[in-house]
Amino acid sequence: MKVLSRQEDIHQFKDEILALCDEDASRCVQCGKCTASCPIAPEMDLKPSQVLRHIQINSSKPVLQCSTIWLCASCETCSSRCPEGIEIATLMDTLRKVAIEEGLAMGQKQIVAFDEIFLDSIKRYGRVHELGLVMRYNMASRQPLKDAHLGLLMLGKGKLSLFAHGIRDRATIREIFRKSRRFFGK
C-alpha cells in the first residue's frame, strides 16, 4: 500500500522529472487519452496514464521498474493527443534515463540489454553490425542458437556480412557519445 507520510515531499519525483525534461506530470488530468491512443498499451504492465499518476503521487519505484517505459516505442501518438500538451514520449525517455541511473531492477532486462549492445555497435563502427548485434544479444539473453537457421540463410544471400563495416568519420560519433556521457557513463 502506498503511504503518504509526513516525512515525504509528495512533489519530489514530479519536480525531479520536471527539472530533467521540462515536462510537468502534475498537469495530467487523468483523462486516459494517452492510454487510449498507445498502440503498445495492451502489453504494458502500467498504462501510460498510470505512469503519470504514479509520478503525481511521488511513487517513483513502480514507475522506474515497470515494463512500460521500455516497451514505449516513442511513436509520440500520446504526445500529439494529450489535451494538456504533455510530451509523454519525452517523459518516458527521461524515465528510462533515470531508471538506468538509479540502477533499479529493470522492468524489461532484455530490452535494456538490446539497447546497450545496439549503442555499443554504433559507438564502435558508427553503424550497426547486424550479425554482431544478433550474436551478442543472443548470448546476453542466453539463447545462443535462436534464429540461427535464418542467419545461415541470410548469410548465404548476402544479407548479413561477417565483418563489420565502419563509417569514415567515427571520431564525430565518439564525440556524440562523449557529450551524452551523463546518461551513458559506460
Binding site: M1, K2, V3, L4, S5, R6, I10, H11, S26, R27, Q30, L46, S49, Q50, R53, H54, Q56, I57, S59
Partner: protein, 459 residues
C-alpha cells in the same frame, strides 16, 4: 446589509418567525411571531457593554461550536440590527434569577427581562421564500469517526477558521491540541451521492469550495500540503475548471480519485485510508486535520413551511419550482417565489441570480393595477351549486372558498389562485363547477366529433 436596513422602503424583521399564511397573490395575510430579545431595540445604542460584562458563556452557534459566546450576544459581527439578544436558556437572570448585571450597567436602560412574544399580522402582495440549506450531520459516518475525532471537521468549520474575525483569528488549527494544521485531507461527497447513508444527489457546491479552501490553506500556511479525495470533480461554471486547476498547480493540492474507507488515529495524528482508483491501489495519508464536504440538505422545518405556503417540495424537502426549465423561480402557487438554496443546493452566483429573478417577477406583478392570468380557469354556477363543498377538498391550490349568495352556501373560486386543473369540475355532482373552455358540453362535443362523424365526410 447595514445599507439595506437603513432603506426606508425595506423593513427587516429579524428574530421573527412566520406562523401562518392566508390569502392569495396580492392579498397575503401573514402572521409573524416576533421573539423576545429582552432588549428594547428602540433604546439600545449597540455599545456592546452588556456583552462585555456578561458572566455566562455558551457554545457559539455561528462558529459551529468552535468558539464561545456570552448569554447576551450578537449572533455575528455584521448582523443587523446592531442590537444584542439575550439567550434565556443560559442567562443567569432566567435560569437562577440571581444575575442582572446587564440591566445594571446598560446606560440606555434598554434591558427588558419582561418582553414577551409579539404577534403581528400584516398584508403582503408577494412572498419570496429564501430559507437556504443545512449541512448533513456527518456523524452517520462511523468510518470517518462518527464525531469521535476532534480533528475531523466539516467544510463550514474550516471556513470559520479561515476567517480572520473567526474563532481562531484566521489560523488553521487542530481542534484537539490547538497546533497549526500542516497536512489537511479534504474528503468530498461526505453524504452526497450516497444512497445508503446520505443523499443520492450531488450537492454541487463542495467541489468548488474545497478547491477554494485548498488554495486559501496554502495562503494561510505556506508549508502546508492538502490532499483531496474525490469521486468526480464537477466544475461546471464560468472559470470553475481554471480555478480547480489553480488549486492543483499553484496550491499544490494532490487530488486522489476514490472514496475514503476509514480514518483512524495513530499517535496524535490521523491516518486516512482510501484508494487511488486511477492506479488501482490502496493509499494511506497521514493527516493533521480532515475536512468533510458534508452534503447540503433542506432546512429543518422546510416541509412545514411548504405546507403553510401551499407549495410542493420534493422527497428531500427542497421546494419545487413550477417548471424545471421555464419557471425556475416560481412555485405553483401564484405569488409565491422560491430563491436560492431552499430549492436545491446552489452556489453564490446561482443564488444571486435566482433571487434577482424572483425579485423582478415580484415587481412585475406588484407594479400592475390588474393581474393578467390564463383565462382557462374554473367558475361556479351559483344557481346549480348545492353547497356540498366537495370541490374545496380536492382543490390542490386552495383556491375555493365558501360564500353566501342569495342566502345559500355556495362554492366560490379565487380566480388568482386557480390554475384550471379541473379537479373541482370532475368532482362536482351538480355540474356547477366547470373550467372555461373545457365545460362538460364542450368536452362531450369534442369526443363525439370523431366518433359519430363520417370518415372524411362533412360533419
Amino acid at each position: 446589509m447595514t445599507e439595506l436596513s437603513q432603506d426606508e422602503k425595506i423593513k427587516i424583521m429579524t428574530y421573527s418567525e412566520v406562523l401562518e399564511v392566508k390569502g392569495f397573490v396580492g392579498n397575503f395575510d401573514v402572521m409573524i411571531r416576533k421573539k423576545p430579545r429582552y432588549i428594547d431595540e428602540t433604546k439600545c445604542t449597540g455599545c456592546g457593554e452588556c456583552i462585555e460584562k456578561c458572566l455566562t458563556f455558551a457554545p457559539n452557534e455561528w462558529e459551529l461550536g468552535l468558539g464561545k459566546r456570552k448569554a447576551v450576544y450578537k449572533p455575528f459581527v455584521q448582523g443587523i440590527p446592531n442590537v444584542p439578544v439575550i439567550d434565556p436558556e443560559v442567562c443567569g437572570y432566567f435560569t437562577t434569577g440571581l444575575c442582572n448585571v446587564c440591566s445594571k450597567i446598560c446606560e440606555a436602560d434598554a434591558i427588558d427581562y419582561n418582553q414577551k412574544d409579539e404577534y403581528i399580522t400584516e398584508k403582503f402582495g408577494i412572498i419570496v421564500v429564501a430559507t437556504g440549506f443545512d449541512q448533513l450531520d456527518t456523524s452517520v459516518y462511523g468510518e470517518y469517526g462518527g464525531g469521535r475525532f476532534k480533528d475531523v471537521i466539516t467544510g463550514l468549520h474550516f471556513e470559520r477558521m479561515l476567517d480572520t474575525s473567526g474563532p481562531t483569528g484566521g489560523h488553521v488549527i487542530r481542534p484537539s491540541n490547538y497546533k497549526e494544521a500542516k497536512r489537511v485531507v479534504f474528503i468530498q461527497c461526505a453524504g452526497s451521492r450516497d444512497e445508503v447513508k446520505g443523499m443520492p444527489y450531488c450537492s454541487r457546491i463542495c467541489c468548488m469550495y474545497t478547491a477554494k479552501q485548498a488554495i486559501l490553506l496554502k495562503d494561510h500556511v505556506p508549508d502546508s500540503q492538502s490532499y483531496v479525495f474525490y469521486i468526480d470533480i464537477r466544475t461546471a461554471g464560468k472559470n470553475y475548471e481554471e480555478f480547480y486547476k489553480k488549486a492543483q498547480r499553484e496550491a499544490g493540492a494532490i487530488y486522489i480519485r476514490g472514496r475514503v474507507s476509514k480514518i483512524y488515529e495513530k499517535g496524535d495524528q490521523l491516518v486516512v485510508r482510501g484508494a487511488d482508483t486511477l492506479i488501482g491501489e490502496q493509499i494511506e495519508v497521514e493527516a493533521d486535520l480532515v475536512v468533510l464536504a458534508a452534503a447540503a440538505v433542506p432546512r429543518d422545518g422546510a416541509k412545514e413551511l411548504a405546507k403553510m405556503l401551499n407549495i410542493p417540495h420534493d422527497t428531500y424537502g427542497f421546494f419545487s419550482e413550477a417548471h424545471p426549465k421555464l419557471q425556475p423561480v416560481e412555485s405553483v402557487t401564484r405569488g409565491v417565489y422560491i430563491a436560492g438554496a431552499c430549492q436545491f443546493p446552489k452556489d453564490v452566483p446561482d443564488s444571486v441570480a435566482t433571487t434577482g429573478a424572483a425579485a423582478v417577477k415580484a415587481c412585475s406583478i406588484l407594479s400592475q393595477d390588474e393581474l393578467t392570468i390564463d383565462p382557462k380557469i374554473a367558475y361556479v354556477d351559483t344557481e346549480l351549486c348545492s353547497g356540498c363543498l366537495n370541490c374545496v377538498q380536492v382543490c390542490p391550490f386552495d383556491a375555493i372558498r365558501a360564500e353566501v349568495v342569495d342566502g345559500k352556501d355556495v362554492a366560490s373560486i379565487v380566480q388568482s389562485l386557480c390554475h384550471g386543473c379541473g379537479n373541482c369540475a370532475s368532482t362536482c355532482r351538480t355540474k356547477a363547477a366547470n373550467v372555461r373552455g373545457f365545460s362538460d358540453d364542450q368536452i362531450y362535443a369534442q369526443i363525439s366529433a370523431p366518433l359519430f362523424s363520417k370518415r372524411g365526410g362533412e360533419r
